[in-house]
């Protein structure tokens, strides 16, 4: 137990998590501190490019083969299934409307890249490695949950008798685009392939950029995320207790599912921790965008608040060391 505390503390006392706290506190105090949106988006791009490249380069070094593809498929399946669980829990305990429950469920089946990136630094700080193709698994997990969530919400809308919904195709052209080719999927997968194709010689060329700067940029980016999360805090007032609780217990459920998958496909301790984080984290960029396109009836204030204001901070501050401790306790082995 004291070991768990110690882990939590070492996570809390990293410059990254403290930067997040700084941003959160600044926004709470209504400071006008603001990171220009263009720069925030550029930092996000950088982090995705770097994490993708590092994953690809790691895979190139370790070799991979068919096992990698199977793992990726399995991750996609997890993303497609988690929303059923989430939807069931929401309908049973939260009092959310069906359409909102479907939308929220999609977010929790999907993933948060920033949470993963933060966790990857935590893992590295424990002197652990992780399987390079986890990045590809993450990329694949963005999307399937959207399909499941939409299916659940639209089924409910149809029952309520929305003649209007009938006219709508299940997948509009824009939606398919948004789902398969959104910026984060393209950069993650693209950089992953580039890292894999150019291997160690490619890595030698870009290491100062892709590796050395990583932590520092992550600090500023988490500062920005802290500002962002705290500025959406007002959304919390409109949510019921059951809904808010979901934002805390669903990550735990997702983490367990992630650990189960990690066990099934035989990941090491670092990889299992990250897999738990993928299960636990919820999207707040890609899925909201898809929901506005395809499910405008759902209330964005609900799903954005839950994933960004409740679950994201929970995971970054407490979840990551917790999932790591759980993975270690369950006997996952270092690299």
């Amino acid at each position: 137990m004291s070991d768990l505390l110690q882990l939590g503390l070492s996570n809390l006392l990293s410059p990254m998590v403290l930067s997040f706290a700084l941003g959160f506190a600044a926004a709470l105090a209504r400071s006008d501190l603001d990171i220009p949106e263009a720069v925030g988006r550029a930092m996000a791009l950088y982090l995705m490019f770097a994490i993708g490249f590092k994953g690809g380069a790691a895979l190139a070094e370790s070799g991979g083969g068919g096992k990698v593809l199977l793992d990726i498929l399995a991750a996609g399946l997890l993303s497609a299934l988690l929303p059923f669980l989430a939807y069931g829990l929401l309908r049973a305990f939260s009092g959310l409307r069906a359409v909102d429950a479907g939308a929220v469920a999609a977010h929790y089946g999907s993933i948060s890249i920033v949470t993963f990136v933060t966790a990857s630094q935590f893992v590295t700080a424990q002197a652990l490695g992780y399987e390079g193709h986890l990045v590809a698994m993450m990329a694949v997990m963005e999307t399937p949950a959207i399909v499941t969530g939409l299916y659940l919400a639209r089924r409910a809308l149809a029952k309520e008798g929305g003649g209007r919904t009938a006219g709508q195709p299940f997948f509009s052209k824009e939606l398919v685009h948004e789902i398969l080719l959104n910026a984060s999927v393209v950069v993650l997968v693209g950089a992953f392939i580039i890292g894999w194709a150019t291997g160690p010689s490619g890595m030698a060329k870009v290491k100062p950029f892709v590796v050395d700067l990583f932590n520092g940029v992550l600090c500023l980016f988490l500062l920005d995320m802290g500002l962002l999360a705290a500025r959406q805090l007002r959304g919390v007032r409109a949510l019921s207790g059951g809904t808010l609780a979901f934002g805390i217990y669903m990550p735990l459920v997702g983490a367990v599912a992630g650990l189960g998958l990690a066990w099934a496909i035989g990941l090491g301790l670092g990889g299992a921790t990250l897999m738990a984080v993928l299960g636990a984290s919820a999207s707040y960029i890609a899925v909201p965008a898809a929901m506005r396109l395809a499910l405008p009836q759902a209330n964005p204030a609900v799903y954005v608040t839950m994933s960004l204001v409740i679950t994201f901070p929970f995971n970054v501050v407490l979840g990551i060391p917790l999932y790591f401790a759980a993975a270690r306790m369950l006997g996952f082995q270092a690299g």
Binding site: P36, E37, G40, A289, R292, P296, V304
Partner: protein, 102 residues
Amino acid sequence: MQTHQRKKVEIVVERARAPALVEAIQKLGATGYTIIPDVSGNGRHGKMGHNEVLDVYRSTMIIVLAAEPLARRIMEEAHRLMENYTGIVWLSDVEVVRGDHF
């Protein structure tokens, strides 16, 4: 310089819906449109921000010059397309020089 009476339709709408509106404007036969890409505001649906990280809280302003009948059709269609979305639309009078352009 002789001028011609035309109407100007202005629309403020959340980002996710802007492409659908622009498509409709073109289909209805407008000769063009102008977009102010990033505006913020407040209305029945609450606050929208500019330079927002979250695209769901951003909005866009669209300006279309057209002859009155087309302008009114655009206004009507815009209303239809903004159901379930954050947005407003209004109409006003303008004078243009090149009547053949609008």
